[in-house]
């Protein structure tokens, strides 16, 4: 019974570290105000150590991640997604694709992320980009090839004080599935 307890306790700790309890979720994006700070509770500290070691505190950068699209479906390598948003409250931002192992997907597409300087904005400041295993016909793109279960990370560098104080005030990008499978048109 002690051995079972050991397995259950260790397993639950590893699950908590991977899933990240106590994080705020806004529009599908999950983040923590105490990432990297000395105020982090032991569970947040352990979770950051596993999935975001050496992360900056929120005065320098805020990190958000997600594993599902806006419909709540898991993000998959064989699906294409449109990531669309407006001006983000930061000096600079980027969206990066990670594989389920928390490393970059092993591909040679040279498109591991897209950032504030790559997206084209319309008159209202709105932008859109694609996350997919294949390069789209036009526009900013992050490749999910070889990612398997896709994880997106949004980094806001030098976020505004308002964004630091209240994540709910951030106009987060939407992640909309365009289609799945090889037969899906671009």
């Amino acid at each position: 019974m002690a051995a079972l307890g050991l397995v259950a306790g260790t397993g639950s700790a590893l699950w908590t570290m991977k899933q990240g309890l106590g994080r705020e979720v806004h529009a599908g994006w999950s983040g923590s105000k105490v990432t990297g700070s000395v105020d982090a509770d032991p569970w947040t500290r352990a979770q950051v150590a596993l999935t975001g070691l050496l992360a900056l505190n929120r005065q320098q950068a805020i990190y958000f991640s997600r594993r599902t699209d806006d419909a709540g479906q898991p993000l998959r390598e064989d699906c294409r997604y449109r990531v669309e948003g407006a001006t983000l409250p930061a000096r600079w931002w980027s969206v990066t694709v990670y594989a389920a192992d928390d490393y970059l997907p092993l591909n040679d597409d040279d498109a591991l992320s897209f950032d504030a300087t790559e997206v084209r904005r319309d008159a209202k400041g709105r932008w859109a980009a694609t996350v997919a295993a294949q390069r789209p016909a036009s526009g900013a793109w992050a490749s999910s090839r070889n990612a398997g279960a896709v994880d997106l990370t949004l980094r806001l560098y030098n976020p505004t004080p308002a964004a630091q104080a209240d994540f709910a005030a951030i106009a987060f990008p939407r992640v909309v599935r365009i289609g799945c499978g090889k037969g899906d048109a671009a």
Binding site: G9, T16, L50, G52, L54, R91, Y103, D115
Partner: protein, 179 residues
């Protein structure tokens, strides 16, 4: 009945202890592993190491940003405080120096927005007296609760050209003992 209760309590007690123990130990263990990787097997401390441009193959740290140029210094304050300095990237690209204690806490951070002429500070062990020189320099002092930890230089470098600029600038980074 008593036996079932005893087994249940044993299970719950061991599970709780294992859960809390793992949560408390994991940051130190993962940080120790990371510092070993960054210092190339404990060999290179108190000196900056310069990572190549992040690629899909980068595996030193989880979730590396492909948009940044990284340099790292694993510190050891056994011989006293360090003087840490970093020059800005030409063209004004964002650069930051952050200090992490052995438990992963981010105990200090400086950027070139607040310090456009460059970053300089003293890193010392908390609870130990500062040498006169550290006081005379009149620089910011970061106090580390642990003897060992890591310093990370991040520079915005989303393109090959930006990375070349960051690479040139970061070569002036220093995390040497204060003499």
């Amino acid at each position: 009945m008593k036996r079932a209760l005893a087994l249940g309590l044993t299970f719950a007690g061991v599970a709780l202890a294992a859960h809390v123990g793992t949560i408390l130990v994991a940051p130190h263990a993962l940080m120790t592993l990371a510092m070993r990787k960054l210092s190339q097997g404990d060999g290179k401390v108190n000196t900056f190491q310069f990572a190549r441009r992040t690629t899909a193959q980068s595996r030193a740290i989880v979730r590396p940003s492909p948009d940044l140029a990284y340099a790292s210094c694993v510190y050891d304050l056994a011989q006293g405080p360090l003087l840490v300095s970093a020059a800005p990237t030409p063209g004004g690209g964002y650069a930051s120096i952050s200090v992490f204690a052995a438990n992963t806490d981010n105990i200090g951070v400086f950027d070139t927005i607040a310090h456009p002429q460059g970053i300089r500070f003293v890193l010392a062990r908390a609870g130990e007296p500062l040498p006169d020189k550290a006081t005379r320099l009149a620089l910011p002092v970061v106090l580390s609760p642990s003897r060992k930890g890591a310093i990370l230089d991040r520079r915005l470098a989303p393109t090959t050209e930006a990375f070349a600029l960051a690479e040139k600038a970061r070569r002036a980074d220093s995390c040497a003992p204060l003499r």
